[in-house]
Amino acid sequence: MKRFFKRAINDLRENQFLAAITVVTIALSILIASAFALFFINAGELLTQWQKGIRMMVYLKPDVSEAARLDTKFRIQGVAGVQEATYISKEEAMERLKGQMPHHSALLENLKENPLPDAFEVTLEAAARDSVQLQFLSERIQALEPVEEVEYGQQWIQRFSSVINLFSIAGYGIGALFFMATVFIVANTIRLVLYSRRDEIEIMRLVGATDRFIKIPFYLEGMIQGALGTTIGLVALYIGYFSLSSHFQPSLASGLLTLRFFPVLVCVSIVAGGTVVGWLGCWISLKQFMK
């Protein structure tokens, strides 16, 4: 095997230009496809974070009696998927609002009457945090007589979910497209190498070399190019990610999201995938060439 590796490395050196084209092509394909995947992962993470933070606000009609309020609390807590319902009186809500808007507290002080309604802040179990469950829950709670309105930012969640789903489908499509394009390009560059060395291959056959002896170094070349191209693509993506995250992280840090790169295991899997792509491209061109 050492001998085959040596031959593969020598061949790559002798065909530097073609090898470089293959490696750069793989690197670019991986860069674009992985950038898409990274965006998708971070956007998904953002959605999950938002969903974790979802609190359903159940606003009560004015002048609901304490007995009715207690009854409503028990009923809300009885709905499947609800974790906790905490009562927030309109006075408490006003205090919170003042705390959140310190610059406008004077404005709030001058109000003759507290316009905020009494409400329940409802936290949800993890299973109830997707948009369908949320819709279902809100309809159940909305049906209670003392309830005026239920709010949980449903439109936002639904729109964002649809965008993420769209990206997910597009991501798979683009991934498949880049996979095929990369295999095609690797196959073609290997084919160019094979054609440029057809005399050499013919001579090898004439001196008694088996197809295996001829093919193995080409497979190794394809795999080395695949692994190298993928690694370069990932490194380029990391550099891009690093400069973007250091630019945006301060503004994101106060919010819900921390930007993430692929875990090491995923990086290793991507490099392994690139290696397989190199092998596959080689297999296709050798199959046609060595007939």
Partner: protein
Amino acid sequence: MIQANSDAIIRMFHVHKRYGNKFALKDVTLEISKNDFLFVTGRSGAGKTTLLKLLYLGEPVTEGQVLIDGMNLSRIGQGRIPVLRRKFGIIFQDYKLILTKTVYENVALVLEAAGRKPRLIDKKVRSVLRTVGMEDRMNALPQSLSGGEQQRVAVARAAVGDPKIILADEPTGSLDEEAAEVIMTFLDDFHARGSTVIVATHDKKLLERRNSRVVQLRDGQLWSDELH
């Protein structure tokens, strides 16, 4: 005609080779014994190169049978072709050296392809390059060598695997008289060591230089087979 014998390493029975409608070889029957030194001669286009190609399966026969050292070529599978070719050391008129590999690498390739160990390869390659006087040029690329030197490398490559049969297709065709003599001396040496040597040539001087069996082809047919 030479009579059939049990010591034959090559047997051709009623062999025809056709390219399209044109016959390159017609009904050739021939036996070549172990350790024979045989010249195949004839004009250009007589079928000399075709005959050699049929022996190492460079081309398949159109009709007839070829047996090499007990292997029936019409019955061997694709996977056995390398085994067949390792029985031969082939010297081509255009040398067929790999231009991107050094002299050493070109010669070593035969043993690497046969799966020999690196230490043995090194020993054998140096030894055969010494024999053909090319040891001091072993790191040179073929393009930096003269025609005579390239042919010596081709001879070294043909001999390095200790083949049973050496095929030489016009080995002196593009060489001057002195270089041609050197090549023929090497072929004589390999023959003396036990190899069967088959030389395709139209050079009459080569035929005159020694007592050998000479097979003459004319328009693809075996015209004569005699000892000179």
